[in-house]
Amino acid sequence: MMIKIENLNFIYNPDSPFETKALNNINLEINEGDFIGLLGHTGSGKSTLIQHLNGLIKPTSGSIIVDGVDITEKGADLKSIRQKVGLVFQYPEYQLFEETVYKDIAFGPKNLGLDDSEIDSRVKKAMELVGLDFDSLKDRSPFELSGGQKRRVAIAGVLAMEPKVLILDEPTAGLDPRGRDEILGEIKDLYNKGNITIILVSHSMEDVARLVNKIVVMHKGEIAMEGTPREVFRRAEELESMGLGIPQVTYFMRKYKESGNDVSSDVLTIDEAKEELLRYLRRNGND
């Protein structure tokens, strides 16, 4: 399934003193199987953009074609679009509302009109994907759970819809490092199982560098960069001018190279840096 965004513009509160142009002529193609990292300073338009992708926001102008259907047209079947494109909001745990974990996760599938056994199997599967134990947690109130677990319940609720495209808006915001690594690990496993396209909005260059295969950078409502992590993180100065950075190891390799060492600075992770440095140092007899 493919998403194609064409000449998309969006203005909040048009024709009022609070008018804000949030998206300015966005053109973007998202292909089946992409794992996209969506980066950008706060206010650059990331949340506004992704809410367009499942029809939560109607564009001021432009079109969004999901699976061959222009979802901005009158009469577009938004219910089926929201099933295909699942959106996990920022701090989604604030939107839990049912009295048990099971009911909360089952809410979406139930609305699809699925039968009870199908709902049951989807809830089980979704809980497993996010690492929540079905038997011990299904009857608990989501409000009694820890912050990280609540967030997983919210994510599971979206996964239970079995979307083809999963969009997560800063899913690790506010979590501690362990909670962050667990959730990112689960997202990665889900991606590796195949048959899914993922868009991850994130502030962490380190996380994005090791997870995604394509980066889109937004700046002031426009798409400022698009490419593989390697391509994008080569443009450190431009990223810095947008208030963004590059992973610390990548920055280190650039500095090391600038100080006269013949290494490639094209690394994204600690492992890659280690390999490159060992190759260089051993060749120079520092062993």
């Binding site: 300073h41 706060t42 820890s146 912050g147 990280g148 915001a173 506010g174 979590l175 501690d176 490092p177 362990r178 909670g179 690594d181 502030h203 380190e206 208030g243 950075g245 992973p247 610390q248 190891v249 920055y251 280190f252 500095k255 090391y256 100080s259 060492n261 600690i270 840096a273 280690k274 440095l277 060992l278 140092l281 520092n286 062993d287």
Partner: protein, 275 residues
């Protein structure tokens, strides 16, 4: 006068509720010097907020003693003195804002202390200047960014003239810009205003510049030392599920491969020099 700001002696803290008891702090001994910048690192649930609340006398120890500038937190007559000495900043900026105009919000604390209006005016202006929010003094706080709101919350504490400020994950809900604004303010409070700082966080970047770090896990202090001493124990930090700077980890990996470099690299510049 003693040079100790905070002292915890063999402190246990047990939460009691209808569902049972839970020992959240076990045998904590911790001394914080006047003027020190201490960072408390640890996972959710490790006991950091409980520790902060004990220092502020919001909770009283189940066993052991907590002293703030020599005052025993169980001494009821001292409770307001203690809270004036050690001010607290919390995680969610929205829950800390009480007024609809920035300068009124900052004045709220000293007003409650019965300080005279002219002195309040002086303190509010100075506090806003320190957190670099003077030009927003007539603004509505709810329209500010998260980092700005948190700086207003800090100004509100500053206006009460505390010697010590405890910040309980003040950056957890902020974006990178907001985080660096708040950290800049915290450093300034310590270096220029000479405030004792207890900064609770799980972002290791914020711990790198501390005078000292304590790491908590399951209600105990499991590591303690300078940032260099703590972060150089890469394997132990990873076991605890905490982050270390990427360059520290890279140096650690290279050392394991037999490259001759120091174990306690903390910055990019240090690693460039070491290799």
């Amino acid at each position: 006068m003693s040079d100790t700001m905070i002292n915890l002696e063999n402190v246990n803290y047990e939460y009691k509720s209808s569902e049972g008891e839970f020992m959240a702090l076990k045998g904590i001994n911790l001394e914080v010097k006047k003027g020190e910048f201490l960072v408390v690192l640890g996972h959710n649930g490790s006991g950091k907020s409980t520790l902060a609340k004990l220092i502020n006398a919001l909770l009283l120890p189940t066993n052991g003693k907590v002293y703030v500038n020599g005052m025993d937190t169980t001494d009821e007559e001292k409770i307001w003195d203690i809270r004036r000495t050690a001010g607290m900043v919390f995680q969610n900026p929205d829950n800390q804002i009480v007024a609809t105009i920035v300068e009124e919000d900052v004045a709220f604390g000293p007003e409650n202390q019965g300080i005279e209006p002219r002195e309040i005016r002086k303190r509010v202006d100075k506090a806003l200047e320190i957190v670099e929010m003077t030009k927003y003094k007539k603004h509505a706080p709810h329209l500010l960014s998260g980092g700005q709101k948190q700086r207003i919350a800090i100004a509100g504490i500053l206006a009460m003239n505390p010697e010590c400020i405890i910040l309980d994950e003040p950056t957890a809900m902020l974006d990178p810009t907001g985080r660096s604004e708040v950290m800049k303010t915290v450093r300034k409070l310590n270096k220029e205003q000479n405030k004792t700082i207890v900064h609770i966080t799980h972002y290791m970047e914020e711990a790198v510049e501390a005078d000292r770090i304590v790491v908590m896990e399951e209600g105990q202090i499991v590591m303690e030392g300078t940032p260099r001493q703590v972060f150089s124990q890469v394997d132990k930090m990873k076991e605890l599920g905490l982050d270390v700077p990427q360059v520290t980890e890279l140096a650690h990996e290279l050392k394991k491969e037999g490259i001759d470099i120091p174990e306690d690299i903390l910055t990019v510049e240090e690693l460039v020099r070491a290799l």
